[in-house]
Assembly symmetry: D2
Homo-oligomer: 406 residues x 4
C-alpha cells in the first residue's frame, strides 16, 4: 500500500497554497535565497529525499529545492506533524509527498522507506531529522549508488551519525545543521522562550505579574523562559544541576534555589532541562495547592506522570489544556498539556520567522551539494561560521536593521 | 415579554456551576470576604438590582450578595457579555436573572428595566455600570421608595451621576467604585498590559523579540503594554500627546517619537489612548508593508477603519483574528480583531484573579449599605483609602506574600 | 556683623564662573527660558530675596532672575550647601550674596535675615525653601510693604504656609513649586534612584549583580532605587508599610517581604521611607554578618544609630564612606555615610540636568509675578499643569526627543 | 641595583595588612581554599615566581601560596598597578617582593628578572601574566633546572605560549587560566559591565535615564555594558562587526545601528570592541555637540586620539576624569579618562569579590603542581570544567545561595 498523496482534493491543495503564501510572507531569508539562486538551477539533476516535519514552513524549503532544479520526495517523519493541506499543495506541483497526519508508527516508517525508494537509483541527497532516513540508507546502501551526501538537523541524529562514522559506515559527507549560533539564539532562547510563556498564558489565562515562576534548567531554553517570564512581571526562581550555570543565573539577577525550596514556593513550575524525572514524588509532595505544572524540555517525562497519578484521587479538565489533579492529601495541581511540550500544545511552537533561520541553514547546506560548490569529503561536517554570518546578514536586512561591518 | 431566565436546562446550569467553581478558585479575595461576612447576613432585607457584565467572575459577586442575605436580580447590561451557563446556574439558586447572550440593543434596555422592576417597591440597592440603571431609577423615582443607595463602577458613569447630582436629582448616596490605586495598577497596567501582548501573540504568532513595537498612549494601559512588550524583547517606541508623559516615558527607558516617525518604523503598532482617530490616513500612508495594527484603548475608533478601507484593494482573513488588507499602493497591513479590543477578542481579557480585586471593591461598597454600617449622606462618595488597603491586604495574603506594617 | 560676601578673591570668583559655565551646559531648559524672556526684562523693578541652597545650579537661576531685570539677594539657607566659589562669582556680578559654607546654625538664620533686610522697603518677591524666610516676613510684615508674593519648594514648607494661611496670616500669593509630575519623576524616582545606587557603588565598590538588595519603602524614591538596583542585576526585595503599595511592588516584579525576613536575607539594605527608626535593634539583630546598611530617605534617623552603637564593640573606617561595626556577637555590619544620605555623601546628589527641571519651575513661578502676568489672589497656588507641560516640552527639545501632540 | 622591597616602613606594612584584611573579607572562595588545603602544605618544597598585578586581591593569592608551603617571590609586572602597602605587608611576612608603584618600563623588566633569579636553581613554578616571565625562562632555560610548570592568565599570553610550543620550546606543562565560563561571566560581563557604567557616572555625574547610550562591540564586555546601561534607564544602541552578533543583540531587545547612525545619535558612546580605531575622524564628525566619549575595551586606541586632536581647538579639564574638547567647528566633546579604560581610571576596576573567582582559578591551577596531584605532560592545558564547577560551588556557598544538583 503506497502512502503517497495523490489526487487529494483541489480544495485541500487550495488551502495549502494559502498557508504557504502566509508562511512565505514571514520567511524573508528563505525567500531571498530562493530569489537569488533559483535562476541558475544549481540542483538540476539532483533527486532529494527529505524526512522533516511537513509544516507550512518546511513547505517553503521544499519549494526552494524544487525551484533550484531538484526532483523532491518528502515525508514528515512522525505521526502528527504533517499538515495535509500543505502536502496536497506540494503534491499538486509535482513533489512526491508521502504520508499524512495521523499515521501509525508503522506507517511513519513505511512512508520514510517509500520516500527513499521512489527514485530509480535512489536519491542523490538526503535531508534528515533524527537519523531515521540515513539509517534506512545504511541498511540498503547498494540501492543508492548516486548518493552524494546528506544533512541532519538534530543533536541526537548527529550523535547517531558520528557513531556510525566511527564504525566506518559513513562513506559520504553529512552536514550537521545543528550547532549554530543564530539557531541557538533565535530558535531555542528567543523562539521557545516566547512560545513557552505564550503557551502558559493561553492554557491558563493567569496573570504572570507577581507570580513565583520556577524554571528548572538554565540552558538555552531555560534562559529564554526565565527572561520572558521575568519580562511579564513574574518573580523567577531558577534551579539547575551545574554550579557554574547557577552562578550565571544568579548574576543575571534571577533567584537560584534548591529544588526542594523552589518546589515549595512555586505558583508556576516549568521544566526545561532535557532530562527525565525532574519533578518526582518528592517535589510533588512539596508543591502548594493550586500550583501550575508544565514542561517545555525535550520529553514528556520531565514531570513524573506516574508519581502524579499515584497521588491523584480524581482529575477534571478545567480548560482545554489544563487538567486539575485533586490529590489525596486535599491539594490540587494543574497539569498543562499532559506534561508534554506546552509551547507546541497550547501555543503554536516556533513562529515562521524563527523557522526561517533554521530552514535557511537547511537550504544552504543542501546547496553545498549543488553545481559549483566545493566537493566535501566523507564524514560529518559542521556548518561554517560564514554560513551563519550569511543567514544573519539576510535576517538583519529582512528585519530592517541598519548595520555595517565597521 | 419577559427576558427572565427561567427553566433553562439543568445541563446548562451544571456547566455554569463548573465555571463558577473554577472562577472561585482564582478569586480568593472575594471568597474570603464572603466567608467572613455571610454568617451575620448583613444584607438581610436588602433587594439588589445589578446591571454588570454577567461573567463567571461577576457570578461570584452575585453569590456573595445572596449569601449575605440579599434578594438579588441581575442583568448583564450589554448585548454580548452574558455567559448563559452562569446565568442558568444563578437562576437555579434563586437569583432573578434577566436577559441572555445575543440580545438586541432594545432587549438589553428592556432587561435592565425588568431587573429594576422585578421587586415590589423596587430595589433597596442598585449596582450599576455606566449609569444606565441609575438613569432608569431617576426616570421613575417614585416607584423606588425604599432605595437606600447605589454603586457605579465606570469613569463615564460617575461623570454622568455627578452631572445629575449638580442638577439636584441625586437624593441618595452613590459610591464611586472607580478611582482606586489597586484597581488601576492591577486591572489597567498589569491586567490589560499582559492581556494585550497575549492577544497579539495569539492573533499573529509572531516573534516579539527584536520587533519595533509602537505603543500610542502612555497612560495606565499604555504603560502596561510598553512594559510587557519590552519584557518580551521588543524595542518599544512610545508616542503620546502630553510632554510631561513623554518625559516620563523617556526616563523609563523607552524611545519616544513623533507619530510620523513612529508609524514609519513600526513592525507592530498598538493604540492605547482612549481617543478616536489616533491612526488616520496620514499614519496609514507611512506604515511599512507587513505592519501589524491593533487597538487596546477604549474604542474601536482609535484606528480609522474608514481611512483604511479607502486605501484597501482587497482583504483576506489570514488567521482567526487577522485580516490582511492589501492596499492600492502595493503594501499590505494586518489588522487585528477588526480594530476592536485585541485583548478581549484575541485573548481573554482580564483574568479572574484581576477581576477579584475589582469586584471585591464592588462587594465592599455594597456592604457599606448593610447592617451596622455608617449611613452615608446623599451624593457621590469615593471608595476610602482604607477599603483599598483592606482589599490589598487580602490579596497579599492570597498571593502568599509575607508583608507587615513595620 | 554682616555675613555678606564682598571682596572675595577674584580667583575664587573665577572658579565660580567655570562652575557656572559647566552647570549651564547641562541645564538647557533654564538656559532657554533665560534666552527667551530676558530681553523684555519682565522682572524690572523687582527686588528678590532668595533662600535656596546656593549650588552651581541655583546660581544659574540667580543669573536668570538678574538678567530678567530683578535686583537679587541670596542665601543658601543651611550650614553646608553653599558653594563659596559660586557665591563669589555671583557677588562679582552684583548679586547680594549672604553667608558662606560652614556657618553655624545661628549664622544661617542671621544670613537669612540680612538677605531679607538688605532692600529698602524689603523684597517684592521671596523665593523660599522650607518656609524659613516666609516665616521671617510674617514676623515683620510691616517692614515689607512692597511684597507681591513668594514661592516655596518643599512639602514641609508648603504644609507650614497652609497652616499660616488657615490662621489668616498669608495676605499675599504663595506658589507651591512642589507637587509636579515632572519633578517627582525626574528628581525623586530617576534622579535619586540613580544617585543612590551610584553612591553605594562609590562607597563600597561591591558587585551588585546577584546581591540581595533590600529597599525599605516604595514611594517615588524607593521605586527608583528598586528599579536601578534591579537594573544592575541585584535581586531586589521591597518592604513597605502599606498593603496597596506592597501589591504594586509585587506586580512590578519585585519580591515583597516582611521586615524580619528581609533583614535576615539582606546583603545590602537601603532605607527610603522618610520615617525614623526603620532599622531598629530588632532588624540589626537579624542581619547577616557583612551586610551593608545605608539610607537615602529624608533623615539620618531611618537607621537607629543608638541601637547600632549599643551592639557595637569597635568600629573601623574601611573606606572613605564605610564604617565597619564589629558587633559584640561576632558579626560585623558596614554602615555607609554614617546613616546620612548616601547619594549626597558618597555620590553627588542630583545631577545638573535634573536640577534643570526643578529650578526651571522655580523660574517660571517667579516670572508669574513679572510684567504682563495675571495677578494672583492671596493664598497658596499650585503650579499649573500647563507650566509642567512647558518645562517638559523644553526638556524634550533639549534631549533631542522627537515628539508631537498628535 | 635590586628592586626588592626590603625594610619598608612598618607603617606602610600596617596599612597593607588592613587592605589585605578588607580584601579577604570579600574573597570567601580563596579564603575557603586556603582554609582547606593549607594544613597539608601541598606546596612544601616549591619555589614560586609570580608576575601578576600586585593588588590587595593578588596579595590574598600570595598569602595562600605561602601558607600552602611555598617560598614565594612576586612582582607586579607593570608600571602602575603595584600597591606598595600590600607589597610591604607581604615582604614583612617573608615574601620576596620586587618593584614598586611608578617604575619605568626598564625597571619593570628588571624586577621580573630579579623575581625569577632570586631562587637558587630558579623557581619550580611560574605564575605569569602576558607571557613575560615565561619568555624570560625560555631565554635562560638551563638556569631553571627544577621548573615543573607554569600558569598563564591572559588570552594574549596563551597565544604566545602556544606559538612557542609549536616551535618546540615548551618542555614543561603550562596551564591556561583563561577560557573559563565563570571567569567570562563574572569578570567580563558582570564585573566590567558594572564598573564601566560606574566609571561613567563617577566621571560625569550625568543622569543615564533617557540617554542614547551607544555601545560599540557586543562581546562579553559589550554585553555587560549594554545590560547595565539599559538597567540604569538608558536607551542602548549597539554596533558590531558581526552579523550574527547583531542578530543576537537585536533579539536581546537592543537597538542595532550602523556606526554612522549610532554616532549621529549618541549622547554617550562607549567602545568595548578590543580593536583599534573604532571611533575615527568619520565618527567624530558625526557626533552631536556635548557627546560623551569613553572606552572600556582593551586599548587606549579604540578612540583615535590623533583624529580628535586634529579637530580640537582647545581643551579644558571640566572634572577630574573629563576633558572637554572644543572643536574647530564649534561643537564640543567630553573625553573620559583620556580614552583609557574608564572603569579602571574613573572607578575601581573589578571588585574583590570578582577577582576572588579569577584568582581562585589561579590558586587551583598552581595546586595542580603540588603534592598528590596528577603529573601533567608538557604543553598547554586548559582548566578543566570540574575546576570551574568547584569554584562556582564555593562561590554559591559564599553568596548564601541555596542550590543542589537535583
Amino acid at each position: 500500500v503506497s502512502l503517497r498523496v495523490v489526487g487529494r482534493s483541489a480544495e485541500l491543495a487550495g488551502r495549502g497554497e494559502e498557508a504557504l503564501a502566509l508562511a512565505r510572507s514571514q520567511m524573508p531569508v528563505l525567500d531571498a535565497i530562493q530569489a537569488e539562486v533559483c535562476a541558475a538551477r544549481p540542483l538540476d539533476g539532483h533527486r532529494i529525499s527529505g524526512c522533516i516535519h511537513l509544516t507550512k514552513e518546511a513547505g517553503i524549503l521544499v519549494e526552494l529545492l524544487a525551484a533550484a532544479g531538484a526532483e523532491v520526495a518528502w515525508t514528515g517523519g512522525d505521526e502528527v506533524s504533517t499538515q495535509d493541506d500543505v502536502g496536497a499543495a506540494l503534491a499538486a506541483r509535482g513533489v512526491r509527498v508521502f504520508g499524512h497526519r495521523g499515521m501509525t508508527t508503522g506507517e511513519v516508517r513505511q512512508a520514510a522507506r517509500e520516500t527513499l525508494g521512489t527514485f530509480h537509483r535512489g536519491p542523490t541527497l538526503v535531508l534528515d531529522n533524527g537519523g531515521a532516513m540515513i539509517g534506512e540508507v545504511l541498511d540498503s546502501r547498494q540501492r543508492h549508488p548516486d548518493l552524494r551526501g546528506a544533512t541532519e538537523k538534530t543533536t541526537e541524529g548527529i550523535r547517531q551519525v558520528r557513531e556510525w562514522d566511527r564504525r566506518g559506515l559513513i562513506d559520504f559527507p553529512v552536514i550537521s545543521v545543528n550547532d549554530i549560533v543564530t539557531k541557538w539564539a533565535v530558535d531555542n532562547t528567543y523562539g521557545t522562550g516566547q512560545s513557552t510563556v505564550d503557551g502558559i498564558m493561553r492554557a491558563t489565562g493567569v496573570l504572570l505579574a507577581g507570580k513565583r515562576f520556577v524554571v528548572c534548567g538554565y540552558g538555552y531554553v531555560g534562559r529564554g523562559v526565565a527572561l520572558r517570564a521575568s519580562g511579564m512581571g513574574a518573580r523567577v526562581i531558577v534551579t539547575c544541576r551545574s554550579a557554574r550555570t547557577a552562578v550565571t543565573a544568579r548574576l543575571a539577577g534571577f533567584e537560584v534555589q534548591s529544588m526542594d525550596r523552589a518546589a515549595a514556593m512555586a505558583d508556576i513550575l516549568c521544566t526545561a532541562t532535557g532530562y527525565a524525572d525532574v519533578v518526582t514524588g518528592r517535589e510533588l509532595d512539596l508543591l502548594r495547592s493550586g500550583a501550575i505544572l508544565c514542561n517545555t524540555g525535550r520529553s514528556v517525562t520531565e514531570i513524573s506522570l506516574a508519581e502524579l497519578a499515584a497521588r491523584t484521587e480524581r482529575t477534571r479538565q478545567t480548560r482545554a489544556h489544563v487538567r486539575r489533579h485533586f490529590l489525596r492529601d486535599g491539594r490540587y495541581l494543574d497539569l498543562l498539556s499532559g506534561g508534554g511540550l506546552v509551547n507546541l500544545d497550547a501555543a503554536e511552537g516556533n513562529p515562521s520567522e524563527v523557522m526561517d533561520v533554521t530552514l535557511a541553514h537547511q537550504a544552504l547546506a543542501a546547496l553545498r551539494f549543488g553545481a559549483g560548490a566545493v566537493r566535501l569529503p566523507p564524514g560529518v561536517h559542521d556548518v561554517e561560521a560564514q554560513q551563519d554570518q550569511t543567514v544573519a546578514t539576510r535576517k538583519l536586512a529582512a528585519m530592517g536593521v541598519h548595520w555595517d561591518e565597521r
